[in-house]
Amino acid sequence: MENLDAARLQMAFTLAFHIIFACIGMVMPFFMVVSHYKWLKTRNKIYLTLTKSWQKGVAIFFVTGAVSGTALSFELGLLWPEFMKHAGPIIGMPFSLEGAAFFVEAIALGFYLYGWNKLNERFHWITGVIIGISGVASGILVVSANGWMNAPSGFDYINGEFLNIDPVAAFLNPAWFTQALHMILAAFTATGFAVGGVHAYQIYKKRNVALHKKAFKIAVTFGAIAAILQPISGDISAKDIAQRQPVKLAAMEAHYDTEKGAPLYIGGIVNEETQEVKYKIAIPKALSFLSFGDFDAEVKGLNDFPKDTHPPVAITHYAFQTMVGLGTILLIAGIIFLLSYKKKHWMDTKKYWLLFILLAPAGFIALEAGWVVTEVGRQPWIIYNIMKTKDAVTPMPGMIYSFYMYLFLYTILAVVVTWLMQRQIKVLNKTSVEL
């Protein structure tokens, strides 16, 4: 395997790993403080047990997210030294602010975890809120740096040199808002349904139902609201990409020929050689409408762009389909959940819980697929239309061994964290029965 491919594999794998832990570490504090708030209001012991149990989860996920994030801050330079040499100063602002936000989060976490019975109750709760807010701020800032790779701005590119650097303009690049909004909603959806799914399984197995029902409701309320809002953000993103990165949009849709009133393809098998998409469902004129708000607008096809600037079409298309498909299913599940507040008898059926158990991984699969769309869809560029990924990679040979090492380390880590969570739940079920 070529060094470039190995470096890309390692980056993709470590990012994919980090994203899961970072999202849970970012969103779970919100569940935790809601439960904590309910404990303070109602003094119902179940909420206290739940809060303390979630806080252990937050600690474990936060640390795993933090160490894999530290690794990423090194990997950016280790794998892509040429990229960082030029991009580092330009996108330094979101990264330095992110460092600060992350710091605030770690400090607040220190207060929160060790503050039980020692701090003023209200202050203690507020430190929990700060964990959540600074986590979301970190997320937005990091995504803004990624947005810059898609929408490079804040500099003049003259004769291969980056001149007149304006870090603030780079930070507030045209993609930052659409990407950050989409990602934050995705994080809430994915974590909400994942945590909800875990508790749904416990309810399904009739273990400590009172506690798990409360947990399920808090988590899925966040997930459902985010899932319902997500299509709006998706629409903003699609229209933005149609303008800024038409070749990415074409790859997402496996759309080879430029046409007016372009149809939207759902599913289908892409053959990159013959440029055909077989077995698809085509909705007439829908792509034009979704991209430009006009049924007859012209959508550029891949063939309008030089072949060496095409991203891998099949992967981008499948990833996009996966994301939208699962997003839609989660949206429906979100509505079902909200309706079950009215139709309480739904919660007495096994089918209801089974649905949410099955959907537990759906949000994260969609989220990862979305990142595949963004990242693979930007290829062959690392900085869109400025620097190619192959020109940024480290000259050090043998990157494949580094990839294997991370694969090994992180796989074990993922297994151990899952095992720890399962032990956590077992203990939780035992202790609260005694309450």
């Binding site: 795993t64 160490v67 330094g92 380390l409």
Partner: protein, 339 residues
């Protein structure tokens, strides 16, 4: 503004060495303790470090960010030629972080604790050793500039740059510093029966620091290392080292009298002086390569970037430092902690 950035770079580096170093050192002390003392040390570390543990290790991220934003040329060279030790450091940081949390947050206490403990102790030695070796690599004069890579083979570029006697000695010296910091910190935290253990550890660590430091300087001098030659000729560096040796006297007095805060202050001061001596010795030519010395200020980011970075750092500092201080203060007095 470049001075603000340099200040924060030095400041973050010092805090990482002090807080992160004491944290690494705790694992080293634990490793070199008898079975029974290991349990006590483990509990003490958790009590002292637990609340600030997360924050200790974020300083390295701040250092990285400042380096790549403000000093991209340096960052680029280090990232290419020291790829291997930096990757090993990452493994160390990862194993250490997760094993620390796992051993305290695992809901069930059973045999798996042995694995967590083992990993924690091993990575506590391994990581600072490699951190020291990496720094040793930076100043050893064996790094090859990226534009000359093609003239050398893999071993010369990616291994000899950090895997050499000089770097190894630097690594041992740095690990000893960490152990020294931590043992001194733990003296004040243990109950009277166990204070003795840490006093002894602190004394042993001091001896190792002095010995390994002397060997490092002698080895460097005999073998004509530019850094060492300049180090011993630099009046500031020599005075700082002399001063840090003198501080041993008040440090011992305060340890003996059981002054917790003062003995910590002097131990920290000593380490800061040693690191400062090393940094000043060759400033701003911190990086010494096969192709000559390279100033930190060479290839520095444009003014517009430095300005924004400086402001971000000041704002960040204003938010973070009071919070961190409050955190340290809030938990210092607490004797019994339950997660």
């Amino acid at each position: 503004m470049i001075y603000v950035v340099l200040f924060f770079l030095a400041f973050s580096l010092f805090l990482y060495v002090l807080l992160g170093g004491a944290d690494f050192g705790a694992g080293i002390v634990e490793l070199f303790s008898s079975k029974e003392n290991q349990q006590i040390t483990k509990k003490t570390i958790y009590r002292v470090m637990g609340p600030i543990w997360e924050a200790n290790h974020i300083w390295i991220i701040i250092v990285m960010v400042i380096l790549w934003v403000a000093f991209p040329v340096y960052f680029n060279i280090i990232m290419i030629s020291l790829h291997i030790p930096l990757t090993l450091i990452l493994i160390g940081i990862t194993l250490r972080g997760v094993s620390f949390i796992f051993r305290h947050y695992d809901a069930v206490v059973d045999e798996s604790q042995k694995i967590y403990n083992g990993l924690f102790r091993f990575s506590s030695v391994f990581t600072p050793l490699l951190l020291g070796m990496t720094f040793g690599g930076v100043i050893s004069g064996s790094i090859i500039l990226p534009e000359h890579l093609s003239q050398y083979n893999f071993g010369e570029v990616y291994i000899a740059s950090w895997f050499n006697v000089f770097s190894l000695l630097t690594g041992i010296f740095f690990s000893a510093l960490c152990a020294f910091l931590s043992a001194t910190l733990l003296i004040g935290e243990a109950d009277e029966a166990h204070e003795k253990i840490y006093r002894r550890k602190s004394a042993i660590a001091t001896i190792v620091v002095v010995l390994s430091g002397s060997i490092l300087i002698i080895y460097g001098y005999v073998n004509d290392f530019v850094f060492i030659k300049d180090f011993i000729q630099n009046p500031y560096s020599i005075s700082l080292i002399g001063a840090s040796a003198l501080v041993l006297i008040p440090l011992w007095i305060h340890i003996r009298k059981g002054h917790k805060i003062l003995s910590r202050f002097y131990a920290g001061l000593q380490v800061v002086m040693i690191i400062a001596a090393a940094m000043i010795a060759h400033f701003p030519y911190v990086l010494i390569t096969k192709q000559g010395e390279l100033s930190l200020l060479e290839g520095v980011a444009p003014d517009s970037v430095i300005r924004v970075l400086g402001v971000s750092l000041i704002v960040g500092g204003l938010v973070i430092l009071p919070g961190l201080f409050h955190l340290l203060k809030s938990f210092k007095m607490i004797k019994v902690l339950e997660p």
